[in-house]
């Protein structure tokens, strides 16, 4: 897509100050990846997400039953075969949720409200035993009109299985914080900007992507 493919956050952003004036045994953050902020989401930039996830019948049955998904094709192997399928279908929203879950650390873990998802489609079915992988591209970003220090970013995410077949594709938007001041480590995750956040932001049409 372009040459700015990233798998890790820029170094140094999350540098610790703990113990800097004390003994040699300094404390380092347990998770070595810094969160990405608004400035990092340059349109066209591609993120390849971590881990992957093998999905089993047990996952799908747990998810389906815990979410009242009363569709025999998702619950009953006999009936799925009666319908002409090879066996149980993985719950499509499980596939969507796992692929979105894999994208969270890169895209939205710096904190900010979910603003919506659009055009969620399942180009080919995911089957029990498949391993899912995910990548996202930044579609667009803009500064928030009502919330200084924050912006709105929209990404397109694709989930593929081990054979490279797309099993889910969608776009998602979130509020994303601007990068905190670099010498503000004490409050990096706490008070990057002072503002009066309210839940109404999630509903504000002005914060939703126009596409």
């Amino acid at each position: 897509m372009n040459d700015s493919v990233e798998t890790r956050a820029p170094a140094g952003v999350f540098a610790t100050t703990t113990g800097s004036a004390g003994p040699a045994t300094s404390t380092v953050p347990g998770t070595d990846r810094a969160p990405y902020y608004f400035e990092d989401f340059v349109p066209g930039r591609v993120f390849r997400h971590h881990w992957g996830r093998t999905v089993t019948n047990a996952d799908s049955l747990s998810f389906a039953t815990q979410t009242h998904l009363y569709q025999p094709r998702s619950l009953n192997t006999d009936y799925a075969r009666h319908n002409g399928a090879d066996g149980l279908a993985l719950a499509e929203l499980l596939v969507f949720s796992i692929v979105l879950g894999l994208s969270v650390e890169d895209l939205s873990e710096s904190g900010g409200a979910f603003l919506g998802a659009d055009d969620i489609v399942f180009p080919s079915p995911a089957n029990p035993g498949d391993t899912l992988y995910a990548a996202s591209v930044v579609d667009e970003r803009r500064e928030s009109g009502s919330r200084p220090g924050w912006g709105v970013v929209r990404w397109t995410t694709v989930g593929v299985n081990q054979d490279g077949h797309a099993v889910v594709r969608y776009s998602r938007s979130s509020l994303v914080r601007f990068r905190p001041e670099p010498d503000d480590n004490e409050s990096t995750d706490n008070t990057g900007s002072a503002l009066d956040a309210s839940s109404s932001e999630q509903a504000a049409p002005s914060e939703e992507p126009t596409s």
């Binding site: 996830r53 998810f63 319908n83 499509e92 949720s97 879950g101 969270v104």
Partner: protein, 184 residues
């Protein structure tokens, strides 16, 4: 009774039809934490109460329900009435959460049929498009989404489904009859 209702085929839906789904769902800690972790979601707002003091400058004092989980529960509440006879999910559009959902909230779903069309994918099913709205007991809209499912047609499937249903449940009925029960 049959394994699926005889009223859930594409012919049974008309544009504009509204369905108030009977069951509700009270969100519990396990919904949020277990399903977030099951689905690899690393946002602490779904499993770390302490992190809420830092999230969005402390705008929320309680953990927020994962949007994917909210979507799945909302869709699930509609599924018996709308998609019991579905063959596939084709898509979801305009998924929004106008208000946050917290543990302890009870959710109810309503559906409104947008369209029913023949499917270019196969001639034994149609495509049902319907809008889902999920509200809490204060009648606040917390989730909306448009769902498209591939739904069996009655003409192609009703007889086969009835036969399958009878065959699968017959062994249990035979055992009951052998024990002296009336045939139901």
């Amino acid at each position: 009774m049959t394994l699926t209702a005889p009223t859930g085929y594409i012919e049974d839906f008309q544009p504009g039809q509204q369905v108030q789904h009977r069951r509700g769902h009270t969100v519990c800690e396990a919904d949020n934490q277990m399903l977030s972790l099951l689905t690899m979601n690393t946002a602490q707002t779904h499993f770390n109460q302490d992190s809420m003091t830092r999230y969005m400058d402390g705008a929320f004092d309680r953990m927020l329900l994962n949007a994917c989980v909210a979507l799945a529960i909302g869709v699930g509440l509609t599924s018996q009435d709308m998609s019991e006879n579905s063959l596939a999910d084709l898509g979801y559009h305009a998924f929004r959460m106008p208000a946050p959902v917290f543990v302890g909230d009870t959710l109810y779903a309503t559906s409104t049929v947008v369209s029913t069309d023949t499917s270019p994918r196969r001639d034994d099913a149609g495509e049902l498009v319907y809008d889902i709205e999920v509200r809490n007991v204060q009648d606040v809209l917390v989730l909306s989404v448009r769902r498209t499912v591939l739904l069996k047609s009655r003409a192609a499937w009703a007889r086969k489904d009835e036969t399958e249903s009878a065959a699968r449940t017959e062994p249990a009925a035979i055992l009951l009859r052998a024990a002296g029960a009336e045939n139901q």
